[in-house]
């Protein structure tokens, strides 16, 4: 039992922090102190993380799984959440929102994320995903007086409710098929080959619906652009990086983990979904004149590339999560830089001539955009290179060709922003001042993008441990 407590000490720290922040907010703590408190909570959680080693023991008798994959993912989630907190600290909030609740929601979401990442039981998966969703609906609609934000919240709720509803029904069917909700047991049963039938297909697809919604894969990606555009920048960043990563973690755990042999006929459909996701993501981003909406579609396209790696089956998993790690840096950096450059107006015209007005931030923003597009000297290229080489190795030339062609499409709209910043001359002379925290975050992400290009070893070794 002590090991289980040790295991969830990370989450306990987060919950404790969240509650304290809520209290502090009630007693009128300033926005900055609340932010730093949240940051401190996350740091503490990270320090608690090593205590959860060594892996392998059952936690809460099967409810959570303690393995290196889970450990790695929890570290990833905590780091990205730290980035989101940093971003919200540095972000110029339009109205003086009640920040205490904001950080409370972020921390609750983190707890949900961590539990989902190590979930061993489908019920636990459902609960965690549902909590995350509910908190995300509130976060998406956080600017109460801004009609766009409320509409984003409602749309996210409507879409999310249906998806989690479908997932729950899928889980109930799975319970029917296997008599238990314990994922490892289900995995061994599927691996043994019994219970294969249309019912399994229906259960699998319905569960996929819930997860694909989180990971914004094609049939379930419609909400992405509207919600990201309406939601505040830090929430959009959070959704595009952390919750999307969770979607892929759960996809990996349920559909691709080593216990559960990938559902045999899955390899036919997954590449199609991946290709559709990237192509529709890229094409939709072509003519966007709102940078935020463009970044939303670009995150859908990136999800397509990640899922392309996953679609290659067991071998592609480590490549997919390598891509996710680099994607986190790139995307967080891009969202943060875009937020700092023009917090109020996300239209492309607002970014004209920024190359001269805010040279450093504009340069960093260009670095992120080029890395997202896959320009060689940056980490984005390294990630894409691994995905394409995995595809070519698996003789899946169509997928490799699709990834390659989509990266060309990608260059188009990423370059459109860079062109606006550097080629066109500015329309408004609004000076854009960014607190030092912002430069810390964006600089950190840029360092990540550049260092990981030169020395991707750092991540590859960790991944080797995670996917032993």
């Amino acid at each position: 039992m002590t090991y289980s407590l040790n295991f969830i000490s990370v989450e306990l720290a987060l919950v404790l922090g969240a509650l304290l922040i809520l209290m502090a907010a009630v007693f009128g703590a300033g926005r900055k102190t609340l932010g730093f408190a949240a940051l401190a909570t996350v740091m503490i959680a990270i320090f608690r993380l090593p205590a959860t080693m060594p892996p392998g023991y059952p936690v809460f008798d099967g409810m959570l799984v303690s393995d290196t994959f889970g450990y790695g993912m929890r570290l990833f989630i905590l780091l990205t959440v730290a980035m989101v907190v940093l971003m919200s600290l540095a972000y110029a909030w339009p109205q003086d929102e009640d920040m205490g609740e904001f950080y409370f929601f972020i921390l609750v979401a983190t707890v949900a994320l961590n539990l989902a990442a190590c979930a061993g039981n489908l019920a636990m998966v459902y609960l965690a995903v549902e909590t995350l969703s509910i908190v995300s609906y509130v976060l998406a609609g956080y600017f109460k007086r801004d009609i766009l934000s409320t509409e984003a919240g409602v749309k996210y709720f409507l879409f999310g409710a249906l998806s989690t509803g479908l997932m729950l029904y899928g889980i109930s069917l799975a319970y029917g098929l296997f008599g238990t909700l314990d994922m490892s047991f289900i995995g061994s049963r599927i691996a043994a080959g019994d219970a294969h039938g249309p019912a399994l297909v229906v259960a699998a697809v319905l569960i996929l619906a819930g997860l694909a919604f989180k990971a914004s894969l094609v049939p379930f990606h419609m909400w992405v652009a509207d919600v990201y555009e309406g939601a505040p920048w830090p929430v959009a960043a959070f959704l595009s990086v952390t919750s999307k990563a969770l979607g892929f973690v759960l996809l990996a755990r349920i559909f691709f983990s080593n216990a559960v042999v990938a559902v045999p006929f899955w390899s036919g459909v997954a590449p199609v979904i991946a290709i559709l996701t990237m192509t529709i993501g890229n094409l939709a981003a072509f003519h966007q004149n709102s940078v935020k909406r463009m970044l939303a579609f670009s995150s859908v396209a990136q999800a397509g590339y990640i899922f392309a790696a996953m679609a290659l089956g067991q071998a592609g998993l480590s490549t997919a999560f390598f891509y996710i790690a680099i994607y986190a840096f790139m995307n967080m950096g891009a969202f943060a830089a875009a937020a700092f450059l023009s917090p109020a107006d996300a239209q492309l015209e607002a970014y004209r001539g920024l190359g001269r007005r805010a040279p450093v931030m504009a340069f960093l923003f260009s670095v992120f955009l080029l890395s997202l597009a896959g320009l060689p000297p940056l980490a984005g290229f390294m990630a894409k290179f691994f995905v394409i080489s995995a595809a070519v190795e698996a003789r899946d030339y169509i997928l490799a060709g699709a990834v390659v062609l989509n990266s060309i499409l990608g260059f188009f709209y990423y370059l459109k922003v860079i062109k606006a910043m550097y080629f066109d001359d500015e329309t408004s002379v609004r000076e854009c001042l960014v607190p030092w925290l912002g430069y810390l975050l964006v600089g950190g992400c840029a360092w990540g993008v550049i260092f990981l290009a030169i020395h991707p070893q750092a991540i590859l070794d960790i991944l080797a441990l995670m996917f032993v």
């Binding site: 879409f159 998806s163 049939p219 379930f220």
Partner: protein
């Protein structure tokens, strides 16, 4: 003493760079630099001549380039032909440069002129010295370049600029033939060195083709039948240039090339026959046009084409010595004629012989020297022209092809005719010009006198009195040569007949109405034919290609980008913003997945 030969072209080359870099500062002195350089070259040529007599020979300097296994070495060939050409080029060149000091007196780009002349001298001398075809080609193009630059020297005149370009492009067409010939020889594995031209180690037709291609280069450079159109237009340049390049040296390079590769041609009778035929055609055609030309320089230009045709005919008919001998003598008296014409133009400021007349008593020296040159050209007995032309006629006669002999005879007749016509119109009768004609300064008349001396006596070295010294010198292997008395008499008779007919018809020359004989007058419409066949289609094709490039190829590229944009626009409208559409899409997606997966499952009978 022979291996100082490779210094000969270096002096004019140094003079070129001096004049180019310090041209403006040198001013008039640049002429002395040029003349000095070519004088030194003349002396060195004479030393090499002595060295050759005392038994010198070719030598090689450094390996220069290896192509396809063939080492192309920088070698110098010193034999009778080279020395003869060296002497001709340096002597005539120096004299013409001295003449040019006077002729180009007030020109603003005086030093630039002498720079180009020096460059021409160095490349011409280089052409004559190098021992393999490849390096010859390099000097060949250098010579072509200088002729283009000098023809277009007064580039303010659009006609001069066009003529310069026409000259360079037409010769370049011929040079491309030479270029392909070199490539063919190399591909066949044949060495490019002149010394082993005779070695035949390749199939018969290929070698004949190579010979023809090389001859094509000669045709281009020596303005022979198909590629002769550029020479008359090249008269736009200063007359001294025409004298040096378009009479004495450059145009002779073609003949030199054929002479140099003679073993290759003799090995293939077909090639030799074409040389003779082309020579004959250009000789007769040019001579006929000359009879109707009214511009003094045009007449001399066509006469040059005709005489070169004659030389080619001589070579083609097996008369190696005849051809080379006529080459040497022609260089001198044609240079004399051009310089004479130059001083006449300098005096009366017009080139139209109908506007001249009666200059004999106004310009004594020029007229006298001019008449000597004309007589030499016509082939009147004691002068140099007679001996060399006679050689050719005998060679053609012995060759046996009757048609060629008729061509040679008619050419000699016509030559005599149009030269006398020229003299009668230009120097006799009353002066029809506006300007007051006066004799040219000494610096111009002195070279005329010297050249007249050569025109008078140079022929003798090939005559029996000097027991054919020249023939034995030029072709020692050819054995004893006897003067054919009959042919000598016949050629004199032809020459005199030509002069007589011109003398009789002198009355009609002036009132001759143009248009009486349109074919010849318009130079057989070659210019118009070439313009229609090559120039205009070239422009049209260029415009067509540019339009194709702009519309078609670019069209495809812009098309692709436009259709990608349209697809993007279409896919963008999928995002209607209405939640209900999204929900139906999602539910539809789930349903489709279920159906597809079950079907796939069924098909792969997994369950």
């Amino acid at each position: 003493m022979v291996n100082i030969a490779h210094f000969i072209p270096l002096f004019p080359f140094a003079a070129f760079w001096l004049n180019i870099i310090f041209g403006r500062r040198l001013g008039v002195a640049s002429a002395y630099v040029a003349v000095g350089a070519s004088a030194i070259s003349a002396v060195l040529a004479w030393l090499v001549f002595q060295g050759l007599l005392s038994g010198g020979g070719s030598y090689t300097l450094t390996p220069w380039l290896t192509v396809n296994g063939h080492p192309i070495t920088l070698g110098i060939i010193v034999d009778s032909l080279t020395v003869m050409m060296l002497l001709v080029v340096t002597v005539v060149g120096t004299l013409i440069q001295i003449y040019s000091i006077g002729y180009m007196g007030g020109d603003p780009r005086f030093s630039r002129y002498f720079a180009y002349i020096s460059l021409f001298m160095s490349s011409m001398l280089g052409l004559v010295l190098v021992d393999n075809l490849f390096l010859l080609y390099i000097c060949w193009e250098g010579v072509g370049l200088c002729s283009c630059l000098l023809v277009a020297f007064w580039y303010e005149k659009p006609a001069a600029a066009a003529a310069g370009i026409k000259a360079f492009i037409t010769t370049r067409v011929g040079d491309t033939g030479l270029f392909l010939g070199i490539l063919l020889l190399m591909s066949v594995g044949h060495s490019l060195r002149f010394s082993d031209m005779g070695v035949i180690n390749a199939p018969e037709p290929l070698m004949a083709l190579a010979a023809l291609l090389i001859f094509m280069g000669a045709v281009g450079k020596s303005a022979q039948f198909p590629l002769h159109v550029w020479l008359p237009d090249a008269m736009e340049g200063p007359t001294a240039v025409s004298a040096l390049i378009h009479a004495a040296t450059m145009v002779a390079a073609g003949v030199y090339l054929v002479a140099r590769c003679y073993p290759l041609f003799t090995a293939h009778p077909l090639a030799l026959q074409t040389v003779a035929v082309i020579g004959a055609i250009s000789a007769v055609m040019a001579a006929s046009i000359a009879c109707f030309a009214n511009d003094i320089k045009k007449v001399l230009a066509y006469s040059t084409i005709s005489q070169l045709g004659l030389m080619m005919l001589g070579l083609g008919a097996g008369g190696y010595t005849g051809g080379t001998f006529h080459l040497m003598t022609h260089a001198f008296f044609k240079a004399l004629l051009f310089l004479g014409a130059g001083s006449v133009i300098h005096a009366v400021h017009t080139q139209d012989i109908r506007a001249m007349g009666g200059l004999f008593n106004k310009m004594k020296v020029t007229s006298l020297t001019f008449i000597i040159g004309a007589l030499a050209l016509a082939g009147v007995a004691p002068l140099s022209g007679f001996w060399s032309k006679d050689e050719i006629l005998t060679a053609v006669w012995h060759h046996g092809n009757f048609g060629l002999f008729i061509a040679a005879v008619t050419t000699s007749f016509l030559t005599a005719f149009y030269m006398t016509r020229l003299i009668l119109l230009a120097f006799f009768g009353e002066y029809r010009g506006a300007h007051k004609a006066h004799e040219s300064p000494a610096v111009m008349t002195l070279p005329l006198v010297i050249l007249a001396f050569f025109a008078l006596f140079l022929g003798l070295i090939g005559s029996p009195w000097a027991h054919h010294a020249f023939q034995r010198f030029i072709a020692p292997a050819e054995g004893e040569v006897a003067l054919d008395i009959g042919m000598a008499v016949a050629s004199s008779v032809i020459a005199l007949a030509g002069i007589l007919t011109a003398f009789l018809l002198r009355g009609k020359f002036l009132e001759y109405k143009p248009g009486a004989c349109p074919l010849i007058e318009n130079k057989y419409y070659f210019d118009e034919i070439y313009d229609a066949l090559f120039v205009r289609p070239f422009h049209w094709l260029a415009a067509a290609v540019a339009r194709f490039d702009r519309e078609r190829v670019d069209g495809v590229v812009n098309g692709i980008s436009r259709c990608v944009q349209e697809i993007a626009q279409a896919s963008r409208s999928l995002q209607t913003g209405l939640v209900e559409n999204y929900l139906v899409a999602q539910a539809g997606g789930v349903f489709v997945l279920i159906v597809v997966l079950t079907l796939v499952g069924k098909l792969c009978h997994i369950f």
